[in-house]
Amino acid sequence: MKEQTSTVDVPKKIRTTGANAVMLSLINEGVDTIFGYPGGAIMPIYDALMDHPEKLRHILTRHEQGAVHAAQGYARVTGKTGVCFATSGPGATNLVTGITDAIMDSTPLVCITGQVGASLLGTDAFQETDVIGITMPITKWNYLITRAEEIPEILAQAFYIAKSGRPGPVVIDIAKNAQFAEFDFQYKKCRHIRSYIPRPNVNMDDVKAAANLINKAKKPYIMAGQGIILGNAEKEFKHFVEKTGIPFAWTILGAAAMPKDHPLNVGMLGMHGNYSANIKANECDLLIGIGMRFDDRVTGDVSRFAKQAKIIHMEIDKAEINKVVKVDIPIHGNVKETLPLLSALVETSDHNEWLAEFKEADKLEYEKVIKHDLNPVKPGMTMGEVINLINNKVKGNAIFVTDVGQHQMFASRYCYTKHTRSFVTSGGLGTMGFGLPAAHGAKIGAPDTEVILFVGDGGLQMTIQEFGAINQSQAAVKIVLLNNKYLGMVRQWQQLFFDRRYSETYLLNPDFIKVAEGFGIKGKKVIERPQLDAAIKEMLDYKGPYLLEVSIEKEDNVFPMVPTGASVSEVILEPAKK
């Protein structure tokens, strides 16, 4: 196993404690922000943290779940690896939801947890849990450090693994004795692990075969996902679509890879995606999946998905190829590398007639759905119109963050984004409570960009304590609470599929504005349409965090919809008439 040393690394040897070694290792990895919450087993690390105020900024959250979601939001907008700290026992277990969310959405994170002293392992000591065992299925890698000497090498590996290949969360559990012990510290970045090959060798035969299919296709269709953003391949993707003239649709996590108003952008895929984007999957003759994983929300019933088409899958994770759909030509590699190789071999072309079919189908969706969402005539306000008004003000120069539920679907459909990494949402796991802390992390990561959170009354209450963290850091997050007093998405399903039996979906909510003000955050509630525009302007002009609560019409439903088990051709545009 050969190691390459970088000329940038400064292999200085210093005698120091394990805890301080953690700080030095983080600094060496270019970390400048940590989200966390202290506790007994991680105290030595927190003590060492105080010696590095210029290099390391720590944001104190109010729950460890808040810390890990904030680290995710930070990672999503900056492209850096998010870092969070938690103590042993309940501190570590409180991270589990966020770690799971990160592995589902391929977000690079390094989570450092304190652990009881090595001699106490397995004895049910105070606040001891088997963090390695618990986080095994939800991490890309994890490791328990029991000796200080292990710290530099393991942390270097942790950062290498979290960020490379298909990114993901890594948990490093550090026993307290290792934090206290002194040793000779020397840092060296990890450049190679023999059992791990994050950068596959590209098979040029596959690229040539794919180019051939693309050049011959009459109705080619691209499905673009987060892989493009994770690979920093937005420019390469843009060049590819513009050269080939192929219409592209995006998965919810791929939303901001291209500006929404690009002429070849035909909309969002998925259960609540755009009408034409969904139905055309079953009409194309060539389907090109780029940096996406054919999630069940995108495919609908797999046995009736794109059966008529040949499928090319450009993907970095070999286990994803042929996992859900049978792929005709896989291009195994990082799209940053493979897209230019493919672009060089495809002919300049356009598919204007095929593209026009999408635009024609869009008209139906506009009539039945979009018109009513964005310009409602009923007195009750809709989520769509609120989003639209905000779009008009920020004009794509903002980072949008969402929680989970109906509002998330409306936001992904209607938020106008121009720049990459400007849409942050919980995709694969759909974690309610993600929004508020993730927006906090996003603002910390992008302090000069407007960060606007859309959240529902259900989701906000799941992590509402993070108002305290936001007040302490004064991160100027603009929080738009779309309050319909219900667990909206579940209520919609109960309306459509369970005969309007609203079992446990009505929420008796607090006075959110009072709660926010109790936490030191300015807030205002809007109950009528005429108040909206001015309220939005006030929120955006305000220098500091701000909560804008909007009362939303109770039975505002998200359409179109591909019900579970249905084919993507069976998109519903409106509720069935009784």
């Binding site: 890309k140 693994i161 286990a319 042929n322």
Partner: protein
């Protein structure tokens, strides 16, 4: 040593598409890796018929041999998820025809039963087993072979009052003349991708 067993192997078609696969995974010798690998089976609700872990021919590299009864499709997906693990160097799967495999079984019978008639001695000879240890109370018999063969011996010895029985997991080597894994290791060590 008997080369084949006489029991008819059920074809996949008869077994709703399922057949016996032997999965081999080569990994670094690190704590907790066994857990990481078995979680992949648990997650997909696949039962592990047998599992053997021990050092491979190459120092520092561990080998896992896992036997399952599943469809080809599922096995392919499980193996690619094992292969994906950071500390797994490579994972393969093989059908019964592609490997040579063995397991070992130990049987403890009362020595009294051994003395009172010739039958046990004949059985042992017929099954190509061997007597490992004899005490005044018990005798330990050992047999290597395929699962059906060790099972047959079990069924016979059971009649004499089997005191204790244990069988190991399967170990297997492929029928090809080159060791695919050794080739792979050479390739990755000369080919450092950053």
């Amino acid at each position: 040593m008997a080369k084949t067993n006489n029991r008819r192997v059920t074809t996949p078609a008869e077994n709703n598409g399922k057949q016996t696969f032997t999965i081999s995974a080569f990994s670094e010798n690190h704590i907790g890796l066994l857990n990481r690998i078995t979680i992949i089976f648990t997650r997909r609700h696949v039962n592990i018929e047998s599992l053997t872990v021990s050092g491979s021919a190459i120092p520092g590299i561990h080998k896992f041999t896992i036997v399952v009864n599943e469809t080809l499709e599922k096995v392919e997906k499980v193996v690619s998820q094992i292969d994906k693990l950071v500390e797994v160097l490579k994972a393969f799967y093989h059908t019964e025809e592609e490997i040579i495999h063995q397991e070992i079984a130990l049987y403890k019978v009362p020595t009294a039963a051994l003395i009172s008639s010739n039958s046990i001695e004949e059985t042992v000879r017929k099954h190509n087993a061997r007597i490992m240890e004899v005490t005044s109370e018990y005798t330990v018999i050992e047999k290597t072979g395929h699962k059906e063969e060790t099972q047959n011996l079990f069924d016979e010895l059971y009649r004499y009052g089997l005191l204790q029985f244990t069988r190991s997991g399967r170990i297997a080597i492929t029928k090809s003349s080159t060791e695919a894994f050794a080739e792979y290791l050479k390739e990755i060590e000369s080919n450092i991708n950053d």
